[in-house]
């Protein structure tokens, strides 16, 4: 069993400017794919297209060989997307935030899983503090706790290293590689230089 997200002749036009054209991509199990390019080269747009948020593109997307239109539900059930903004409600505690994310995918989950996930991202002791009182890096970590809390095979991460300290960066990098080694697949944009790994592949835009 493997997974594969494919794009054929992908092109995105934003108000009369081609961000990219004729892009063929195969993102498969066991890879960390890093999208590179200068600011404004369409990295975020590409991630949004590949994660099924932007419908405004030309070309075809395939999920495990099936056209994205038909496979969308299955695709979303296996996708974990972390955007620019962490998606954390400042008025809720980390535990409450995670509980909502778990429920969104249709599971009730339990408190232990959530506590465990928070502990892994180094937030033990902050479980019930309103997220508004946490630092930017800690808020980002709450979002990253979803990587272990709601296991998905395809990770699409837009600048996940933002506001994370050096130790956390190394930890997250290990996590990405481990996910790929386990047969998962990671699609990431970052300004941070990733350590070379046989699983790492680069795609340059612009």
């Amino acid at each position: 069993m493997s997974l594969c997200l494919q794009a054929r002749q992908l092109a995105c036009e934003r108000d009369d400017r081609w961000l990219f054209e004729g892009l063929d991509l195969d993102i498969c199990s066991g890879e960390v794919v890093r999208i590179e390019g200068p600011n404004g080269s369409g990295k975020t747009s590409l991630l949004k297209i590949l994660s099924g948020q932007l419908s405004d593109y030309q070309g075809e997307l395939f999920w495990n060989g099936a056209a994205m239109k038909e496979a969308r539900e299955h695709f979303l059930a296996n996708l974990l997307y972390l955007g620019h903004a962490p998606g954390i409600k400042l008025g809720l505690s980390p535990l409450e935030n995670l509980a909502w994310y778990q429920a969104l995918s249709g599971e009730n989950g339990n408190e232990e899983q959530r506590l465990d996930a928070l502990e892994r991202v180094g937030l033990a002791g902050f479980e019930d503090v309103p997220a508004g009182q946490l630092s930017a890096g800690q808020q980002r970590r709450v979002a990253l706790a979803r990587l272990t809390l709601t296991p998905r095979s395809l990770w699409v991460l837009d600048e996940p290293f933002t506001a994370i300290d050096r130790h956390g960066v190394a930890e997250l990098e290990r996590q990405l590689v481990a996910h790929a080694q386990a047969g998962g697949c990671v699609l990431v944009t970052t300004h941070h230089e990733l350590t070379a790994s046989p699983l790492l592949r680069r795609i340059s835009l612009g």
Partner: protein, 252 residues
């Protein structure tokens, strides 16, 4: 213009690999997601009570302005009271609409809502339900008190509250379409009123009409039935429009 693509695969034989994270089938669990969204939004709003109270204070304030601007004469006020109460409640409900999706848009949880393996229409319906519970319903319950201050004739108080409760539900649904369309715009607030107010007119006509009918002693059943029908139609159609609008707004 043209983007070049260099990909350098260092090769990894994964075709026969077994996934540690198995592919999931879509399992449903819609009710869990809807319930969690309800709880989440309710918790958030109840922790910021100001936002819940503001429309109510606004409602009371606007109602206070009219006797001052027109006349304190109870007979005159009694004539215009149904319309005043309805218009003021409608504006108060409109006031809080802009924030319906705004904070979710700003902090990125709207993207997550869109990517949840659940129908977006159902999840946005949950958000609208919370908006009504904490705006429309309190306004409806408060209206009779303000009715006393406007010398609203006896016998129409229950109808006032009931018509507002029914009507504001439609207003929340219709208004949410406008809120979803303008959530990506920096200054969407005024535009939102421009988009939504014309669509509010049928609800206003039958809502205020119900109260007037109660005062004149005519049957109110027809008015309330039409308000119910408008609500049913909004319930059926608005969630799809809200979902489509949110998808547009997320594109920026």
């Amino acid at each position: 213009m043209h983007s070049s693509v260099h990909s350098s695969s260092q090769g990894s034989d994964t075709t026969s690999q077994v996934l540690a994270v198995p592919l999931r089938e879509h399992k449903g669990g819609l009710m869990i997601a809807v319930k969690a969204t309800l709880v989440r939004d309710l918790t958030l709003l109840l922790r910021r009570r100001g936002e819940v109270l503001n429309p109510l204070v606004f409602f009371a304030l606007v109602i206070t302005l009219f006797p001052i601007a027109i006349s304190p004469d109870p007979e005159l006020l009694a004539v215009i009271a149904p319309g005043l109460l309805w218009v003021a409640a409608l504006l108060a409900a409109l006031l809080s609409l802009d924030s319906l999706f705004r904070s979710d848009y700003d902090d990125g949880s709207l993207e997550q809502l869109l990517l949840a393996p659940q129908p977006l229409a159902a999840l946005s319906l949950a958000k609208v339900a919370v908006h009504w519970l904490l705006t429309g319903l309190p306004l409806a319950l408060m209206a009779p008190i303000l009715g006393i201050m406007l010398a609203l004739p006896a016998g129409s108080y229950a109808v006032l509250a009931l018509s507002l409760a029914l009507g504001t539900a439609s207003l929340s649904l219709i208004g949410a379409i406008g809120a979803a369309l303008t959530v990506g715009l920096a200054r969407g607030g005024v535009l939102l009123s421009l988009l939504v107010l014309p669509l509010y007119i049928p609800v206003l006509i039958f809502g205020a009409g119900a109260v007037q009918a109660a005062i004149f002693g005519d049957g109110v059943a027809a008015h309330l039935a039409i308000l119910g029908a408008l609500l049913a139609a909004s319930l059926m159609l608005a969630p799809w429009a809200i979902a489509a609008s949110l998808r547009i707004s997320i594109n920026g």
